[in-house]
Symmetry: C3
Subunit: 252 residues, 3 copies
């Protein structure tokens, strides 16, 4: 199973479950997460969804070694999972238990509340890969962090420690690693004790004015990504990664 789910009362916990691959996303994992989010949407017994990672990583982002099976294409894919997340009508919490890279970082902009283990780190390595931002982060990051911090995070590809993530507004709280799940569940429980109709009505009013802008940003970003993927800088980044050296973008 690429994901596992567990219910604690009205709280559903969804775990990325490819620990051997640091929970990197392949098409099948996108599909599994999309299915889980849709199931949590439809299940009236679920009031709050918590997403975390199995093992020591939260998610290493896109699995660059993934070879899609042409006879078994993804049903939802990245687009479908993105859509399921921004349409999820109940509170969505993240418990960032370890390293989060790429979508393991930009997913913070799609969640309602993010808690982070104090030794976890996040990174958006798009420019270092000759690529560009994704998952509507060009809209969600300025909203969370203000424009300057968003510019730095998305343009520099820098690693961000947990304290920095909190100061920038990318995560709501940082807690000791060993307390992460308990503290996340405690906040989830505060929400789960409220009437579902109040949670849904309030979240929808908070989300509705933003949803269309997120969709548009996702489309524009996907087009940007498409134009850069396989280009000279991206090829140099992949070659450098394969050869275990730093990329040299001085010609790009």
């Amino acid at each position: 199973m690429l994901t596992t789910t567990e219910d604690r009362g009205a709280i559903r916990i969804l775990r990325f479950n490819r620990p051997g691959a640091l929970n990197a996303f392949n098409g099948a994992l996108f599909d599994a997460v999309a299915e889980d989010v849709i199931a949590a949407t439809e299940d009236d017994a679920v009031k709050v969804l918590v997403i975390t990672g199995e093992g020591r990583a939260f998610s290493a982002g896109m699995d660059l070694t993934d070879k899609p099976d042409p006879n078994n294409p993804p049903v939802h894919g990245f687009d479908g999972m993105f859509e399921a997340l921004i349409e999820f009508p109940k509170p969505l919490l993240l418990a960032i238990n370890g390293v989060g890279v790429g979508f393991g970082c930009t997913i913070t902009g799609l969640a309602d509340l993010v808690l982070m283990a104090e030794n976890a780190r996040l990174r958006c390595p798009f420019t270092a890969l000759g690529l560009t931002a994704e998952a509507a982060s060009t809209v969600t990051f300025p909203a969370m962090m203000g424009p300057q911090a968003a510019n730095w995070v998305l343009l520099s590809s820098a690693w961000l420690d947990a304290q920095t993530c909190k100061e920038l507004g990318m995560v709501f709280d940082v807690v000791p690693d060993e307390d992460l799940m308990q503290q996340t569940l405690q906040r989830a429980q505060v929400l789960a004790e409220k009437p579902l109709a109040s949670l849904i009505t309030t979240k929808e009013m908070l989300m509705a004015p933003r949803r269309e802008a997120l969709r548009e940003a996702h489309e524009i970003e996907s087009a940007g990504l498409g134009s850069l993927m396989g280009g000279p800088a991206n090829k140099e980044a992949v070659a450098a990664f394969t050869e275990g050296r730093e990329p040299d973008f001085s010609a790009f």
Copy 2:
């Protein structure tokens, strides 16, 4: 008198004056505040308006015990007071002297600058009442606090101490209780020494791009509130309040 006003030079101080009811809002208090704000708008001798609460509370929010007099309906009501506040063309400061609940908390989003006593506390208890957000807070809170903090404040119904309110961006500064009025008036005086035309022109440019979104949010929130008021979760909340017990929303 449900409100009192006092002028210190070009600064008008408006006090909610139902201290026995912790300055809870009934229809008559909405009307009184609306009238005071409109009067301060029209009086050219007033450059800055400071709103605070008489007694130990700032405002306990909607007075749930209020029985409107059908022969004496409110003239402005909540909608009229909301409109007077978002149309107020001069700097509007709050001095939060004590507990602020409901509109005693969401009014922060309608003011230009908020100072808060260090022992005061704020709370938006909408979900705990089986209701939902009001006073355009689904738009003003994300703008003040970023999306995650706004989600938590509006979905959790949690109490917020003054330091948290400052860290989240809900208030501009926290000061010792005994210095609140003096420090608020000091900032008001800095503004009152500026030419009124500069204050009005600058505030209007800051407010104009937001005003229509605030009106829309207020309308949508009022519709949401209408759909939840008197519903099963709200009834359970009222019953629990009356019976002095915690509400049980596990069935909702």
Copy 3:
């Protein structure tokens, strides 16, 4: 030369160079900056632009003593420089080395990342001059600082020390004065090592949703400025400045 430029690898440093006038802007300096920014836009060898001030000031803002030469009108002027800045497609950093007043402060809202010397100070003295905000600051400041801080900064004309500027979100980092250039160049270098196409694509996605609102705000602010310039409060401010006394706006 009213500006100087220097290249360090792919980083171009642009210095305001009227140190005797505290780098105050006259029409010729606006033109020089606009030309430099356009040149940096078009030069493919430049990946990152850093703007700083020569001497002890960053920029004192508009040069009130400037007498435009009617036979030699500005080519770009303030409007052209503003347009060049918001169209600049590569990362734009500021190193605020000393006092920044007026546009020396509002330019923070047009840059991608701002570093500030710990002894530098910023101020938007528009209301103290009987004028109003400029350079789209009524839109950029709320985005950087949240509404309350933006209101205070633009309405109060208060001086802001570097630590306050960081806490408010107006600058990304504050560093010891003697380290300012080195630390700014270090961050610029992180960006300059990335492929230009990734930098440009990502910045454009971050900037595109904001650009039209910046242009509109700039137009509305210019109209507001036009309506107040030369009015009674502005005249009193200029007279007080000339006479070396505090202005008295009690009649305005």
